[in-house]
């Protein structure tokens, strides 16, 4: 695939103790895009791992959660006059090539935001079966909470325009931020679309990422979000 270099595209990588994989993830992204690493108060040497890279490094002095880290990244990217903003997980499960594909979809459909999906035809993933079931259930719960039925409600890979990013202000610090983003897209009548993406579940990302049991915690956060919005 033809890869363009465009530094007005900012990739936000929220991370928490990702010392083993962060440099590789960031190095790949830096070939084409500007990268903002938002370190959510990691206790490991994440920063040392990144020294020498042309990366914007922001560190929370206390752990707030992934939603808060993404919001910090968005605010910084907007200050840096980003044209497009991408959210990308640090644990290496996303495929960099998908960003370009999603940007094309965004422009072609004239949409404000593109959500990555593991369930659309064209996406490849080696997802464990139990994970698949949990995500299918999560999809409907998210629909109830946000009013938007996406094929994959909890995918960390998203591409949005500057205008969209200005309207999406995440106040859900923890895992319910996915539903909040969808909710805000709906409330602001923003045009959205989905794009199949590749996810690789490595031993590492399986260990680090959201575990099935955490879904209960996400559900709890979601209920509280609906109650106290």
């Amino acid at each position: 695939m033809l890869s363009t270099v465009d530094k007005s595209i900012f990739v936000i990588v929220p991370c928490f103790n990702e010392v083993y994989i962060i440099r590789r993830t960031v190095e790949l992204l830096l070939q084409n895009y500007s990268v903002i690493v938002v370190d959510d108060a990691s206790t490991d040497d994440t920063k040392q791992k990144l020294v020498g890279l042309e990366v914007h490094y922001i560190k929370h002095f206390a752990n707030l959660g992934q939603g808060a880290a993404i919001q910090t990244g968005i605010e910084f990217a907007l200050k840096k006059r980003a044209e497009y903003i991408v959210t990308f997980d640090a644990d290496g499960q996303h495929d960099k090539a998908d960003i370009e594909k999603m940007l094309e979809v965004l422009k072609k459909d004239n949409a404000g935001i593109v959500f990555g999906s593991r369930f659309l035809p064209g996406s490849t993933t080696n997802m464990p079966a139990t994970r698949r079931i949990v995500l299918k259930i999560a999809r409907f719960i998210n629909y109830l909470a946000s009013g938007m039925l996406l094929s994959d409600a909890n995918n960390g890979l998203r591409v949005m325009t500057r205008k969209t990013a200005e309207k999406i202000v995440i106040t859900e610090n923890r895992s319910s931020h996915n539903a909040q983003v969808q909710n805000l897209v709906k409330l602001n009548n923003l045009k959205y679309t989905e794009c199949p993406v590749n996810i690789s579940y490595s031993e590492y990302s399986r260990k680090k990422g959201v575990k099935n049991i955490n879904s209960i915690r996400i559900l709890y956060d979601l209920i509280l979000y609906k109650l106290f919005r």
Binding site: G52, V55, H60, L64, E75
Partner: protein, 119 residues
């Protein structure tokens, strides 16, 4: 008067006095505390009135009514507290974010200069 009434009344008076000392700035608060205190003492001295009110409402015993009311009151308190925690968390988040944005770094620079306040 039976001993438990004396114990309960002293407890209520003590708590109300303590609350008044903590929150005395506000006249409305003081009035509410006084009302609560007077109400509590009244029901301690005349426990059968709760049964009368309960039966008027269709509940068998006064103690059951007190139980129902207390559950709803506590639930309301939890919601209020939770809303307060959310507000505090928001303030804290804003603080952490502001500070971290001020200290954003470009790690390619040799001595990792911070951008300073304005970016």
């Amino acid at each position: 008067m039976v001993p438990i009434q004396i114990v309960l009344i002293s407890a209520v008076v003590f708590i109300c006095f303590y609350m008044y000392l903590r929150l005395r700035s506000n006249l409305l608060d003081a009035a509410l505390i006084f009302l609560f205190c007077a109400g509590a003492i009244f029901f301690i001295l005349f426990p059968n009135t709760t049964t009368e009110i309960a039966q008027w409402l269709g509940v068998k015993r006064g103690i059951n009514l007190v139980f129902y009311v207390t559950i709803f009151f506590l639930f309301f308190l939890i919601l209020k507290l939770y809303a307060r925690i959310r507000r505090l968390e928001k303030k804290f988040t804003d603080m952490v974010r502001e500070k971290s944005l001020d200290k954003a770094e470009d790690l390619s620079k040799e001595n990792h200069d911070t951008y300073g306040g304005a970016v």
